[in-house]
Symmetry: C2
Subunit: 255 residues, 2 copies
Amino acid sequence: LTLAYDGTHYAGWQWQPQLATVQGALEKAIQRVVANPVRVVASGRTDAGVHALGQVAQFSCDTQLPTEVLQRAIAAYLPLDVVLLGLSEVPPEFHAIRDARRKRYRYLIVDNQPIGPFERLYAWQLRTALSDENMTRAAATLIGKHDFASFESSGSERASTVRTVLELSVARTEHWRLLSPRPVGQGGELLSIEIEADGFLYNMVRNIVGTLVEVGRGAKPVEWVAEVLLAKNRQAAGPTAPPHGLFLVRVDYDE
Amino acid sequence: LTLAYDGTHYAGWQWQPQLATVQGALEKAIQRVVANPVRVVASGRTDAGVHALGQVAQFSCDTQLPTEVLQRAIAAYLPLDVVLLGLSEVPPEFHAIRDARRKRYRYLIVDNQPIGPFERLYAWQLRTALSDENMTRAAATLIGKHDFASFESSGSERASTVRTVLELSVARTEHWRLLSPRPVGQGGELLSIEIEADGFLYNMVRNIVGTLVEVGRGAKPVEWVAEVLLAKNRQAAGPTAPPHGLFLVRVDYDE
């Protein structure tokens, strides 16, 4: 399954009793079509409030329905804020978590007042202007293969904290301007942080964003990010950025 | 006042008992600051579900507060989906409706499946692909000074149905792509219709959009729009496009 969802009204991906979750919504929809209980596994769990443009998930079932019919039927039972973009059959050995080769995230920030009514659920609002130039320089420190222990929130049990960041860019973008009350070139641009890696630790993107923002707002010098990385200690990094600015853009697998 | 609002959760601009309205939310916020009842008048009422990026409204009050302080205080009492972008003092003879010289609206359409979860409240979803080329040709017919009686829904009492459309453009745009699950160039573009005029009849934008869509989806030829205009009869035009794709972008006044 390839999925896009607005995480605003969900307590995250993972099924929880009594709470609206993306996994719960999906399993409910699929069960109405295939008529037996299924368990859906995503490439990774997204936290409460985090959005997805291209999450990948899988499930097993016995059905005679062609994938196209199956996709349309499941889509029809999903809530409007969870969209099924694609469905295809995979070999039985495929595993959505283990086989993921690369993931891409996007984080949106509005750093000048006032935030528009259409950004409030999809971007972190900051009252100070950020230096995207300094953030870009600081971000360069994190590109490559490093031990990202400083950027891992507690609560995960991964054996290694070494990951390879393939891309980390900070850019002003006008690509929201259709819904921006501010004219282009006059503060109508969002700050978009794009990050791609071979894997992510728990809260890694939000911790990196929180750290880069410390540099962007001038609270820390550009060189500080290298110190944070070397410390291999969560206490050294900046705060965790809020979930609602984060989007899981894409998950890549081998052909 | 200059205002942006997400119309999704409002029964329109105009105050109504028991219902959430933008006017109601504003008056409540202003009264908490100036401590006496006020009546807020907008450049025009927007219908339920219609959004605004730059609505203009006015009210009168006696206060010693500088406008900057007044703006910040009112803004603090507004719900998150109504944003006060600006506040300034105007001469006593200023009238938000009468003195408006030009208004600009935007209408967003997604014309290929699947619609993303972030567009669903802000764009009209159509299952057929639209020809923006034919829509642009048809739109040209409507530019200029015409009697737009065919595009006026009943329920208004305007003396004249003649208006001057200064701009009417139909364009594919990538400017939503930050929140689009579809890659750019592969159907990730929205259709954006921009219209500016010296004034608008009731539902005029939504009736024009509904009519252009008839051409875009091939149900009517390009030339049909000229016939609709000449008919001066609402029955001749296409259906009214739904409110949630419509944005009031800007209202212009004389210096």
